[in-house]
Each structure stands twice: as structure tokens, then as C-alpha cells.
């Protein structure tokens, strides 16, 4: 943003929970939403004498991410211990990678609203374990906090970008593209509301035209694109105001509460921990063979960019529509299922990006959780295509499906919404309306030929009214013209 002559510089650190069945160093389940501490085994609880064993699937997922962003894959990477005390960090250290991350430099291409493209560099991505959760509310009094270690040990990759983004739009586009990539290759479920992707945003500002980086702040743990956008906007404003008022930005870690819209400082650089990293002696270096890389490359699912190109070619969609429909694996799958059952890509695209997406957004649902299945939507589109119902009626039918009233055909049948296309019945309605409105007929006949077209609308309205909206408009139009022409 061209804020009063300032340029914004943004870098992202993105935590992606890997969709492995078990934890990175133990056999405990990673499923979300279980009762507290029911998915924490002796290893996750850091009981004395327990030892970590690396989950190979987590390693493979990290490699797949590296391949997806065309990054260097380290043939040898290593885990280190990051030491700090916190009650939801059971071992008193986080097992992570520092000096030798598994994924090296890579690139992610983003597309902006104006259609332009930009390449964002990824510095590296490393494997690590998630911490548990501290609970200070609910059943806990001011003297006690609860610790839930179900999440402790969930595998993560942390993706660290270069400071290549210049405004919130680019940062959000980068975050969305990462979401698109990790869900497309199936290494993350992408459920933002469950914390499956979390963003730390590094923001600094500098006078436009200069190259030296300003002092940055890091706003941690943002778990939605919307909050991220808000947090960046707030932080940019804060920093510019601060500097313009003669102040200085201090390097600090900040928090932004998306619900209350309050941003605050968490700790300054001076208060930062000395994490005392050192190589974890309980784990061997991770050696990745050429065969493993070749096999993972061979079986890597379709990437979003390739899928977008395919949607344009195969379904004749616009680049924009294809981009939206291919952005995440669930949406793409939904779209292709609708098309395969309805054979109408254009309508499928319109309905998914229109009505469905609006309803999902309004209730904060992902497409995977849509109350209207792809098959149901395909059923509706089929009835629109064969003119059984009008577009207006289709919206009512969609509401019915959303409310769980069954398939499009069930609802059309139950509500008697089927268009009347029976020519005998329609002829009668047309004849009745003409007979009941002799003045309008007279007016039509006496009008100049060029003005007659406009007068047809009046008859159409009356006919649709008489048919309770069920008359097939195209057929009515044809019949009406025939009848009126015979009177000329």
C-alpha cells in the first residue's frame, strides 16, 4: 500500500499441521477434538525414560511440500532441541530443526486481484512438534490452569518466507496459495478453525525508495486470512504513526485478537528467551534417499497451478473462475463431482462460486462440511439445464436442500414447483389471459410494429401470475406471439 510514502515489508512464518494419523514422535492419535489428555501417551507426557521415534510419514509429507514448491530437499537433515519452560511444553524443550532443515530454498507464485503474478521466495521449511494447550478459562479458577496435551507432538512443518511481500494483499495471497498447495497434495486438512494452519507475520516499514529494512515486529499465531489481513493493516498503521510521531519501532513479539480486534505487545527482544538450541541426541540424522524423492515426486498429487490450467482447458472456464475452483483440493473435488453428475461446467462453476460459497462463508463452513453435497447440487443443475425449473425457483430449491429437505427432485416434487411445459395447458392459460384482457390486446394490435415487443412483457406477467410462476417462459413467449399474430 502506498501509505504516505512508506513501503511495507512482510515475511511470513507458517505452521502447517501435517495430516498424519499419529504424532511425530509417538504412536498417539492426532485426531482433533478428543477429551483433554486422552490422546497423550507416555512419550507426549515426557515421562522419564521415554524416547522419541520419528514418524516417517511426517518426513514424507515435508518432502512432498518441498517438491511442490520446487525446493531443495536436504539429503541429510537433523533435529535440535529448543529449550524453554512452559507448562504445555512437556519436555521443557521443543524438538525442531534449525541448522539442517529438511526443505531448503523454494518458490511460490501468487496471483493478485489485478491478474498480475509475483514469485515469493521460501527461505526453508522444517519439521517440528507442536506444543499442547494451556486452558485458563471454563472450569479453572484464578489459581489453576488446565493443560491439554492432545496436541503436543502433532507434526508441523514451519514454512519461513523471505520478506518478499509488500502489502497485506500479497501476504494473504501467499498464505492462501500455501493453503491451496498443502491441501492439494494432501499433507494438511487445511481446517483453519482447528488451527491446522497458523501464521506468524513479520512486518516492518521503510521510506519508499529505500532498501534498508526497518525494525520488524512479529505478530504470532493468526489463524485466519481475515485476521491476518487485519493484523497487518493495524500493525502497518501503528508503525507509521509511531515513526511519524518521532518514535521508534522496537523489535517485539505481538499478539492480535481477531475477535476483540485488540493488538498488544507480548514480549520485547530483550525479554526473549535464549533457546539454547543443540542437536537432539535421541534422534539420528534424517537421511533421505534419491529413491524416496523420486517415488514421492512420481506420486505427487496435482498441484493447484496445473489444476487451474487443466480447468481452463477441460471445462472452458475463465482463468479467474478456474483459479478459485482449483484453489483447494476440496473445492476442486466438489466442482469436478458436480460436473461429472450434471455435465454443465459453466452452471456448476456459477453455483459453487455464487450461492454455495456465499452460504458457506456466512456460516463459516468449509466446502468439505457443506450441507449440500456435490451430487445434490448436480441434481439441481440438471433440472435447470432441462428447463424443469427457472433460475428463480432454483434458489428456493437450493434453500430447501441446504435445510436438509432432500434432493432437488424431492423438493420440486413436494412443492409442486415443476415448470408447466405441457403445450395444451399453456395454450389454455394464454387464451384465458388474452380473453380476460381485451383492452391490452386491442392496444397491442393498434401499436406500431416496433413497439409491440415491449408490450409483450405485460402479457407475460399476467400469464406467469396465472400459472403461479410455473409456466415455462420460453414456451409461453412462443405461444403468445403465435396467438397475437393470428389477431393482426
Amino acid at each position: 500500500m502506498s501509505h504516505r510514502g512508506w513501503e511495507t515489508v512482510i515475511g511470513l512464518e507458517v505452521h502447517v499441521q501435517l495430516a498424519t494419523k499419529t504424532k511425530i514422535f509417538s504412536g498417539a492419535s492426532t485426531a482433533f477434538g478428543a477429551e483433554p489428555n486422552t490422546q497423550a501417551c507416555a512419550i507426549d507426557l515426557a515421562m522419564p525414560g521415554t524416547l522419541p521415534v520419528l514418524n516417517k510419514q511426517a518426513v514424507n509429507y515435508a518432502i512432498m511440500f518441498g517438491l511442490a514448491i520446487d525446493a531443495e530437499i536436504a539429503r541429510e537433515s537433523a533435529f535440535e532441541r529448543k529449550n524453554y519452560f512452559y507448562p504445555d511444553l512437556p519436555k521443557g524443550y521443543q524438538t525442531t530443526q534449525l541448522e539442517k532443515p529438511i526443505v531448503g530454498r523454494g518458490n511460490v507464485e501468487i496471483q493478485l486481484a489485478d491478474g498480475s503474478k509475483k514469485s515469493i521466495r521460501v527461505h526453508h521449511a522444517h519439521l517440528e512438534e507442536d506444543a499442547g494447550k494451556s486452558l485458563h478459562e471454563g472450569n479453572f479458577s484464578s489459581n489453576f490452569s488446565g493443560i491439554d496435551l492432545n496436541r503436543a507432538g502433532t507434526p508441523l512443518i514451519e514454512i519461513v518466507s523471505e520478506p518478499d511481500m509488500r502489502n497485506a494483499e500479497e501476504a494473504v495471497a501467499f498464505a492462501k496459495k500455501l493453503h491451496s498447495i498443502v491441501t492439494s497434495i494432501g499433507i494438511c486438512d487445511g481446517e483453519m478453525s482447528q488451527g491446522s494452519m497458523r501464521f506468524d507475520v513479520n512486518v516492518s516499514v521503510r521510506p519508499r525508495g529505500t532498501t534498508e529494512l526497518g525494525t520488524r515486529t512479529e505478530t504470532k499465531n493468526l489463524n485466519s486470512f481475515k485476521f491476518m489481513e487485519e493484523a497487518i493493516a493495524r500493525e502497518v498503521e501503528r508503525q507509521i504513526d509511531l515513526i511519524e510521531d518521532g518514535g521508534k519501532v522496537i523489535q517485539e513479539t505481538r499478539l492480535y485478537n481477531g475477535d476483540t480486534k485488540v493488538a498488544r505487545s507480548m514480549r520485547s527482544k530483550e525479554e526473549a528467551n535464549d533457546y539454547r538450541y543443540f542437536p537432539c541426541p535421541d534422534l539420528l540424522p534424517v537421511i533421505v534417499s534419491e529413491e524416496t524423492i523420486a517415488e514421492l515426486r512420481r506420486t505427487l498429487p496435482e498441484l493447484p497451478d496445473a489444476r487451474q490450467a487443466r480447468f481452463v482447458a477441460q471445462y472452458e472456464l475463465s482463468d479467474y473462475d478456474a483459479g478459485i475452483l482449483s484453489s483447494d483440493a476440496a473445492t476442486a473435488h466438489y466442482f469436478e463431482t458436480v460436473v461429472s453428475h450434471s455435465n454443465n461446467a459453466k452452471l456448476a462453476a456459477n453455483w459453487i462460486m455464487g450461492e454455495l460459497s456465499a452460504r458457506l462463508n456466512s456460516q463459516d463452513l468449509s466446502v468439505a462440511k457443506s450441507p449440500v453435497s456435490a451430487e445434490q447440487l448436480a441434481g439441481l443443475i440438471a433440472r435447470i439445464s432441462d428447463s424443469s425449473i427457472s433460475g428463480k425457483m432454483a434458489k428456493d430449491v437450493f434453500e430447501g436442500m441446504w435445510a436438509g429437505q432432500g434432493s432437488a427432485d424431492d423438493i420440486i416434487e413436494a412443492r409442486g414447483l415443476k415448470q408447466v411445459s405441457d403445450s395444451g395447458a399453456l395454450e389454455k392459460i394464454v387464451a384465458d389471459v388474452l380473453a380476460a384482457n381485451p383492452a391490452m390486446v386491442e392496444d397491442y394490435i393498434n401499436s406500431d410494429e416496433s413497439k409491440r415487443g415491449k408490450k409483450l412483457g405485460g402479457f407475460m406477467g399476467k400469464i406467469m401470475q396465472a400459472s403461479k410462476g410455473q409456466a415455462n417462459p420460453q414456451q409461453v413467449n412462443q405461444l403468445l406471439l403465435q396467438k397475437l399474430n393470428t389477431l393482426l
Binding site: L45, P48, L51, L54, N83, F85, P87, G92
Partner: protein
């Protein structure tokens, strides 16, 4: 019965000379009557032991008994035992009852051993005298005013006092070999990765290794055959078949090349200890072995390197003892910070706190390269010293420690003097090599240990050499006077 070796007990059980229940009752009675003199055993599991003995007798009668069926043993209290308190010698874990067994404990259960209880040890295995235990010091059966060595002092004293024929132990810088030497018994620290560390409470993960203690090399061989295993639960465990160490004990050692490092016979070595070790080497020459003078030039760096690496790893390994999930928690903490500080300040003893502070310091920003980084380089040099030596010789021998058992409190005020106790043993841990100590003489009526260092996974040869030495000598059969019931009073 308590003077019989494990090999003899196995034979006696199989020939029905005695039952496992009789044997177990006998050792339980000895522990009940004598342990107060030594403080070697801190938990006695009499009920479980008798039940296990009865079950063992049934298997022995049925004729399908595994290797150690019915033989009583003790576990160092560093090995987690399902349902039995595992304290690691610390107030921090005084109330800790693990819901799982260490792999070593499982292996002994698989082979039918009867566990009598758990042995005393230096707190978190940090010490060379057993004076740092929360449960009080262990006394050396040879001289009750002297230390038994550490950290496996409880296991060593218990075996020397015939409270059990064998005991498990661990060795991070000499914690099997030095107490074995001071208590006049045999003990082997295997190659790093040979014995699973799962369920063995970590002190310094890259150095810790479990191993057996018994009176003879033959018994150590029997125990190690059971104890060693590849374990998927320990990523540093090595997937290599475990040999039957007993089957190679009787090979002649003619032509064996014994490396004698000049650095292990330098100043600080007690003249009596040196004389005993030199005599042992001469005895082996008499059996056909050949002595080769060698040099391990970086030996002097091993203690300083160790006292950076071991505390550094320990500082992280012991962070989990925070009062949040198990173990000791201070009373009425004011807030989180207060809970951490007082739990750890009250739960850990002085030596453990000292090592956590050293380790934390060595890893701190600005000091890491000078300490931890440099120590890792030294570790490489020490490893290279051994690689060069083993190109020339089959085993390396020297004293296990500089002098015989010292009096309680004599090194208590000087941590560095205490750290030098391990000057000859630490290098093998840094290199990951196997090391062993067997009794080879007496000085001032106290035992002297001969150290045998082998090449990687060469435990069979070390045990073979030690057994051949014991076939020709009698040091391992000497018994301290105090072990006769009531003699200590």
C-alpha cells in the same frame, strides 16, 4: 547359596538342587538383615519376587524355562519398573511410579529373572561416590567408611555384599566400571546402542548406556546376552544381532594384542593401583597375550569435554521435571515462576543443580561455540585416537580409576577432584566404545579394578579375555568380611 555365581545358580535351579522360591527367600532375608549396613537397596519388592519365583519354579518343573529363569536380580533405580517406584535417587521422583517397564526390565522378565528390588544410586546418575543420593550414601562392603563409587554404587555394593548375584547398572562416564572397581566386582558398559535406553531415565543421552554387574565375567556374559537387544523404541539402538556371549568365553587368548596407553599410567595414579594393574597385564602375558605400548594423546581432554557435553544434555533432559505432570511439586506455589523455581530448587540436590547450571551456561548464546561446539570437536579427536589404536591392538587395558575407594566426604567439597575419578573411563563414553572393569588386586585391603576397553561391538572378546583372566586368578572370588550376617556391627 549367596556365594554361587549366576552360572552356578542357573545350573542348580535346573538340577533342582534348590528352588527359585528358596533362592529368592534366601536373598530377601539377606537384604532384610544386611542392607541397613550398606543402604544399597532402596526398594524391596518381596511379594512380586516371591510370586515370580513360584512361577519360575513351575516353568523349571515343566522343562521350558528361559535362560535366567528363577535367578534373583536387582535393578538400578534408573530403570523404569511398571507399578514400582522409580526414583532415580532423587526427591524429585520419590513419588514416581511408572506405568511402563524399561526394555531392559522387559528383557529380564522375558528370560525369567526374579526381581528383588531396586538399588540406590547417585541422584540422576550424577556422581562418582553415591553421596548425592536422596536416600543417603551407599557404603562400600569392603570398608564401611568408604564410598562404593558411583553412580551405580548401590548395584555394585549389593553384588559385592551378596545381596543379589547380579544387578543392572548404567554408565555415562564410568558409572558401571568405577563402582565395580571400588567394590571388587565385574561390570561391563557395552557399545553405545547395544542396550536399549527406553525406560532408562536419561542423564546424558549420547553417553548413557546400560550394562550388567556381577561377580564374574562369565555372569556378565550371561546377563548381557539377556540385556542387549535392538529396540525400535530407541532410535539410537543399533540393529545388530546379539551374540551368545557365553559361547566364546573359553577361547584361548594366545596372540591377543593388548594396547597399554601411556596416558593411563601418569601422575595421579595410586602406586598400589598401578602395581596391581601391571601385575594383571603380566598375568595375561603369561597366558600368551602381547603388550603394545600405545598413546591416546587427547586423553587429557576427555574430562573437560565430558563436563561440557554431559551437563549440556542433562540440562535439557532434566527440564521435564517441572512439577506440572508427575513427581515432586513444591507446596503452595504463588505463581508459575515460583512453582518452577521452588519445585526444582527443592526437588533436585546440589550436584544435579550444579550440572544443570553448567550445562545451561555452556549452551547459552555467545558461549555455545566456545564450550559445546569445542567439546564436540574434542569428542571427534578422542574417537580418532581410539580408531588409530584399534588398528594396532585388539583391546586396550589400564586402571579403571586412579585409586581405591576413598572415605566419605573426602572429595565432597571439591567437585573437580571428584570428576577426576572418571579420568580413565570417560573417553570410552565419548567414543561410544565398550569398557569393562574386573577385579585385579587389593590395595590397603580394598579392591583394584582392571579396565578393558574393546572396539565397537567387541563385547564378546572383552568378556572372553576377562573370563580367561579370572580362570587364572582369584581376585573375583574374594569376599568382604562385612557380608557375614552381623559382621558389620
Amino acid at each position: 547359596m549367596h556365594n554361587l555365581t549366576i552360572a552356578e545358580l542357573v545350573a542348580g535351579l535346573r538340577s533342582k538342587t534348590f528352588t527359585s522360591v528358596e533362592l529368592t527367600q534366601h536373598f530377601l532375608a539377606r537384604i532384610a538383615n544386611l542392607n541397613a549396613d550398606y543402604n544399597a537397596v532402596i526398594t524391596v519388592t518381596a511379594e512380586q519376587a516371591l510370586a515370580a519365583a513360584a512361577a519360575a519354579d513351575k516353568r523349571l518343573a515343566a522343562g521350558n524355562a528361559p535362560a535366567l529363569c528363577g535367578v534373583p536380580m536387582l535393578h538400578k533405580d534408573i530403570f523404569c519398573t511398571n507399578g514400582v517406584r522409580t526414583s532415580c535417587g532423587s526427591k524429585m521422583l520419590d513419588n514416581f511410579v511408572p506405568p511402563y517397564d524399561a526394555t531392559v526390565v522387559e528383557n529380564f522378565a522375558r528370560d525369567g529373572a526374579v526381581i528383588l528390588g531396586k538399588t540406590n544410586m547417585d541422584e540422576f546418575a550424577m556422581g562418582s561416590s553415591n553421596e548425592t543420593s536422596y536416600y543417603g550414601p551407599v557404603k562400600n562392603p569392603w570398608a564401611l567408611d568408604c564410598v562404593p563409587g558411583g553412580s551405580s554404587g548401590g548395584s555394585a555394593a549389593a553384588v559385592a555384599a551378596r545381596l543379589a548375584p547380579g544387578a543392572t547398572a548404567t554408565d555415562t562416564g564410568g558409572s558401571i566400571r568405577q563402582p565395580a572397581a571400588l567394590c571388587g566386582i565385574s561390570g561391563i558398559k557395552p557399545t553405545y546402542g547395544r542396550v536399549s535406553r527406553w525406560g532408562m531415565i536419561a542423564f546424558a543421552s549420547s553417553l548413557d548406556q546400560g550394562g550388567p554387574m556381577a561377580r564374574t565375567a562369565e555372569d556378565c556374559a550371561i546377563m548381557l546376552s539377556c540385556m542387549a537387544s535392538y529396540d525400535e523404541k530407541d532410535s539410537t539402538s543399533v540393529d545388530q544381532p546379539v551374540p551368545d556371549y557365553s559361547s566364546t568365553l573359553n577361547r584361548p587368548i594366545k596372540g591377543l594384542k593388548i594396547g597399554v596407553p601411556k596416558e593411563y599410567f601418569s601422575e595421579g595414579l595410586h602406586p598400589g593401583t598401578e602395581a596391581a594393574v601391571r601385575q594383571a597385564l603380566a598375568d595375561l602375558v603369561a597366558q600368551g597375550a602381547e603388550l603394545v605400548d600405545i598413546s591416546l594423546p587427547n586423553s587429557a581432554l576427555s574430562v573437560p569435554a565430558y563436563y561440557v557435553i554431559a551437563p549440556a544434555e542433562a540440562s535439557a533432559n532434566l527440564s521435564r521435571f517441572d512439577g506440572v505432570r508427575y513427581g515432586y511439586r513444591c507446596d503452595e506455589p504463588k505463581d508459575l515462576q515460583d512453582m518452577y523455581c521452588r519445585t526444582r530448587g527443592e526437588g533436585f540436590g546440589e550436584e544435579v543443580q550444579r550440572r544443570i547450571l553448567i550445562g545451561t551456561y555452556c549452551l547459552s548464546a555467545g558461549y555455545y561455540d566456545a564450550y559445546y561446539g569445542k567439546a564436540q570437536q574434542v569428542r571427534q579427536l578422542i574417537q580418532q585416537d581410539f580408531t588409530r589404536a584399534f588398528a594396532q591392538v585388539d583391546v586396550i587395558m589400564g586402571p579403571t580409576c586412579p585409586s581405591p575407594a576413598f572415605k566419605f566426604g573426602s572429595k565432597g567439597d571439591d567437585p573437580v577432584a571428584m570428576y577426576l575419578e572418571d579420568i580413565y573411563t570417560i573417553a570410552t563414553n565419548l567414543a561410544g566404545l565398550p569398557g569393562m572393569s574386573i577385579p585385579c588386586g587389593m590395595v590397603e585391603d580394598k579392591p583394584v579394578g582392571l579396565q578393558i576397553i574393546g572396539n565397537y561391538f567387541d563385547e564378546a572378546l572383552m568378556l572372553n579375555v576377562a573370563h580367561q583372566f579370572q580362570q587364572a586368578t582369584d581376585w573375583h572370588n574374594l569376599a568382604p568380611a562385612s557380608i557375614q550376617q552381623g559382621a558389620a556391627q
